[in-house]
Chain length 232, copies 2
DNA sequence: ACCTGAACACCGTTCAAGT
DNA sequence: ACCTGAACACCGTTCAAGT
């Protein structure tokens, strides 16, 4: 009769699941997916590998839980105050995801993976519900709600994933300088393409150089929202 | 003076780079990214690991080359005949990518990865050029070409990636039966969600069950195209 | 020039054993 | 109940050596 749970555990539980997830996220942020090794975890947490497996099952589950933690936090942004338009709500969610992936590069791959194989988890459901609740107010008729929400999710996740920066090679010292160099090299390469075969790339090199990822993302959302308005 | 290259090589070159890439693609298609191991390669090709490294550098490069091969082939679909509309052209490219990922599940992750870190390679450039050439005809003004093409690429790759099926667990015997079961379980889980908290998910369970991925994809493209028309 | 295959450093995961 | 850490099977990659 467990009316009162055994109060003193055998030993102080020194390792919590939460603690494990937090250091996992830390390792991922610092060195990308490759840096999340069981041994790196045991070093940081000063335990044996068994201790980790006692709490988390396996590496893949750890990755999924880390994803869930970050995304849930990102979605927890308060639904704006009172009179926000559906467009504003959608933009808020989209930008929250954009920023989450900017802060955690490894998320891009993992997020897609989770949506593919765990349509029932809090990540997939959370994103769909949050965005989906707005499409009605947007003027989309009921029978098209799923189509509309899917289009939004596809665009947002696609854009956000492709804006993630290079993973693994976080070895480079100054991230900004890296980005500059990266772009210089890319521009040069685009310029070098045969204009006969690649007229479009030639026409837009300048635009690529000057564009701002976040602004372009918002433009894309505006395009999709506009299109959804005409969905009958 | 190498006016005429040494005609007889020391030994018949028995292993070609192309051959290596082909078996890599085969392994990937059969068992997902996890199945592409150097040892599996040496078994299939009856060589030592060194032979493979002589031709390809490393595993990551092999994965990239495989991606390049498949995507290039997919894009090589002839640009429809004469009078195709820009919308038709875009749809043709989109569906080619859709089908490529359907046939090669591992592509989803790898394609995004390549676009992120190799903006200069044939994959990124090929996709952008092919789609981009149409946005002018669509009525998008020059200064917005990059925005328009990006929106298209983001949507298409997002949608196409999220339609990829579960990787790794190709262990299940009958893929169709699997899909059925998978959907039944998902539907049940969605039904079980609290309708107070998840009104949208409840409203669309039926739509999810009945929808067709490919059709929905085309709807999404129509939405984006429609939105692009108003991009000034 | 092209290939062999042993060797190396490093993985994720398990499990008997401890407290 | 919670943790330890040696052991296992398996990785990707290198490299001296062969032809």
């Amino acid at each position: 009769m467990p009316t009162r749970a055994r109060r003193t555990q055998r030993r102080n539980q020194v390792l919590s699941r939460e603690q494990i997830i937090d250091t996992a996220i830390d390792l991922l942020d610092t060195g990308g997916e490759g840096a999340l090794t069981v041994r790196a975890m045991t070093d940081r947490l000063a335990t044996g590998s068994g201790a980790i497996y006692y709490h988390v099952g396996n590496r893949d589950e750890l990755l999924d839980t880390a994803t869930e933690t970050v995304i849930t936090a990102a979605l927890a942004t308060k639904p704006a105050r009172a009179a926000a338009s559906p467009e504003d709500e959608i933009r808020a969610v989209a930008l929250a995801l954009f920023d989450a992936i900017a802060a955690h590069q490894w998320l891009a791959t993992r997020l897609t993976l989770q949506i593919i194989r765990n349509p029932v988890g809090p990540v997939t459901v959370g994103i769909f519900e949050r965005l989906g609740q707005q499409v009605g107010a947007l003027g989309v008729p009921q029978p098209r709600w799923f189509d509309a929400a899917s289009t939004l999710v596809h665009y947002i996740l696609g854009a956000v994933s492709q804006n993630a920066r290079v993973e693994g090679d976080t070895s480079g010292i100054d991230p900004d300088a890296d980005r500059e160099e990266f772009f210089d090299a890319a521009s040069a390469a685009w310029q070098a393409l045969d204009p006969e075969d690649y007229p479009f790339m030639h026409a837009i090199v300048g635009q690529i150089r000057e564009h701002d990822d976040r602004e372009q993302f918002l433009t894309g959302i505006a395009v999709v929202l506009d299109g959804l308005t005409n969905l009958r």
